[in-house]
């Protein structure tokens, strides 16, 4: 099936003018599957980390939201062990007027401001609420262990 013009244009634009700290490129075998990298935002516990994600545009995109998942382990109250992300625009707040770029920017923003009151991983969220400093330290440890190239 031919790729819709929307996906072609979005891909071109993503490659031509990438958003700061984000890179996304379609896989060679499947133009709907994107390899994504997000750089941990500075002043967040994820600073210095490079996070790999996968993004898939389902058949009914853009009427349905893209499917996004972290491949790199991350300690975050809204991201679970399998890398699934709790983000409203990926679920019921999706609008076809949103794009791959807006989704990735939202995920980047989520890294800067974790929301332990709407958790996906209850254990992480509890730690975050009860002792934020130690949670942030754990997140920093995980960043060092899992998200830095040298390791």
């Amino acid at each position: 099936m031919a790729l819709p013009k929307r996906i072609i244009k979005e891909t071109q634009r993503l490659l031509a003018e990438p958003a700061p700290g984000i890179s996304a490129s379609p896989s060679e075998e499947n133009a709907r599957y994107f390899n994504v990298m997000i750089i941990g935002p500075s002043t967040s516990p994820y600073e210095g980390g490079v996070y790999k994600l996968e993004l898939y545009l389902p058949e009914d995109y853009p009427m349905a939201a893209p499917k996004v998942r972290f491949l790199t382990k991350i300690y975050h109250p809204n991201i679970d062990k399998l890398g699934r992300i709790c983000l409203d625009i990926l679920k019921d707040k999706w609008s076809p007027a949103l794009q791959i770029r807006t989704v990735l920017l939202s995920i980047q923003a989520l890294l800067s401001s974790p929301n332990p009151d709407d958790p996906l991983d209850e254990n992480v969220a509890r730690q975050w609420r009860e002792d934020e400093n130690s949670a942030i330290n754990t997140a920093k440890d995980w960043t060092r262990i899992y998200a830095m190239q040298d390791n």
Binding site: D60, P96, L98
Partner: protein, 537 residues
Amino acid sequence: MLSAVSVSSGGEDDSFDSEEDLMFSDLSSEEDTLMTTEDAEHIAGSARKSVFECLDEASVSRKAEALVVQTSSLLSLSTHEAKALLRFYKWDENRLNDEWFSEEAKVRDKVGLLLEDRDKASGEGTSTSAQGAVDPSLCGICFENFPEDDMFAMECGHGFCRSCWNSYSQTAIDEGPSCLQLRCIQPSCNKLVTEDVMLSLVQDAARRDKYKQFWLRSFVEESRKLKWCTAPGCSMVLKCFDCPASDTPLDVRCDCGHLFCFTCGEETHRPATCSMREKWVIKNSAESENLNWILANSKPCPKCKRPIEKNYGCMHMTCAVCKHEFCWLCLGAWSEHGERTGGFYSCNKYKSKDKSRGADRKRRDFARASLERYMHYFERWNANKASCSKARETLDRFRGLEDLLTQVSTNTRTPMSQLAFIPEACKQVIECRKTLMWTYTYGYYNFDKEKAGNMKEFFEFLQGDAEYSLELLHNCVEVDLHKFVDAENCGDVSKGEFNEFRSKLTGLTKVTRDYFEKLVFELENGLEEIKARYGSV
């Protein structure tokens, strides 16, 4: 006599009842007083027609339309806007009117009917949708250029191509009833996609029907006064004129014959309240009663702690699981029981210092008592339930292929039209069994403390009367009837004998109905009144 009555009675439906009345008073004058019931119209004392009505889908749609039209003229809005507003306020026009006239802007905002500044909105729309490139012919969803005619925008001015609007709306309908509150494609825009817009966008017939069906469902499911009939496959709607309070049961009968409680949508359960029924059903299925039983009737093995029931034999127990041998009385190891320790049965001697075991026994006694009490009510509830389904089977046989009534009709040389009193009696049995069943639940929850006192006796007195009368009726309709069904006895059946049976059965039906009406009435109006009327015992 019978034919004369049939001729004189006017309405078809009433004829059997009046026939029974007259015939009964003719044949058994000693019970005449019991038969002077003012109510000849309804069956079994429940589901009175005056408080509800049964509607089909077409008339429900008409009612919804009428309400929409009325609201639209009152608020000077289009019917589509009125419809959206009514849905938001759960089809409660009074609440809508109140809020609309006190703060229209707020209501518009909540529902998504904001009167926006078109110029401002459209400017914002194109800039975000096309990522800075101001091009009114470019669709921000599919990134294609279109002639102006192929672009579409609602009043808010957020333009996208018709094809994208179409898939957007269809996707929403596929997702379910939330499509009734679909907003503009532009994520920041709150504008509601009203019915007229939706139907102009979606051409697919199946989806259009689905969308219209969602509106009807919203109207029925969200209005407090409407409920779908709960019978499988029935699409009728029950409308209640005066809704009862949240926990007050109201029996309704759909035209399809299905009887249910309007308030909770479950099987009828008067005189028990809806919450009582729910608690009771949960209790019956819950594991908690099993635990109580285990507590009351078993002891844990002192070694492996598995519960053990002692059903016979001596006090020397051997755990079936861990093979530990112990004494049932003191739970000590059997190896310590012997002549050395003062004989095998020294545990019969009461040691008062052993307090912990006393507390344990007390707890066990309490558990046993509460279990016994529950079992008492449950067994009776359950027996009546079983009886009720048996009676239902009997009734079904009147409609089956080997119709019992036809046989009775042939055997007694009585026209079918005069046999209606038999299924009537059967229906009465079913209703009464059901009621009786739920009086046990009522009793379980209302008389659980000593405070019940005399009230419990009153309740049991009324219940006993009703139950006795029902037993007679049930016996009559199940046992006596068979005399007239069996073909062998065909020749023996005399007209007189059958007339006697008829008068007995109609009589019992009436008497039982009266008892049960009284029982339900008293229980629902609180036993306090009886106390006031008859004084305390």
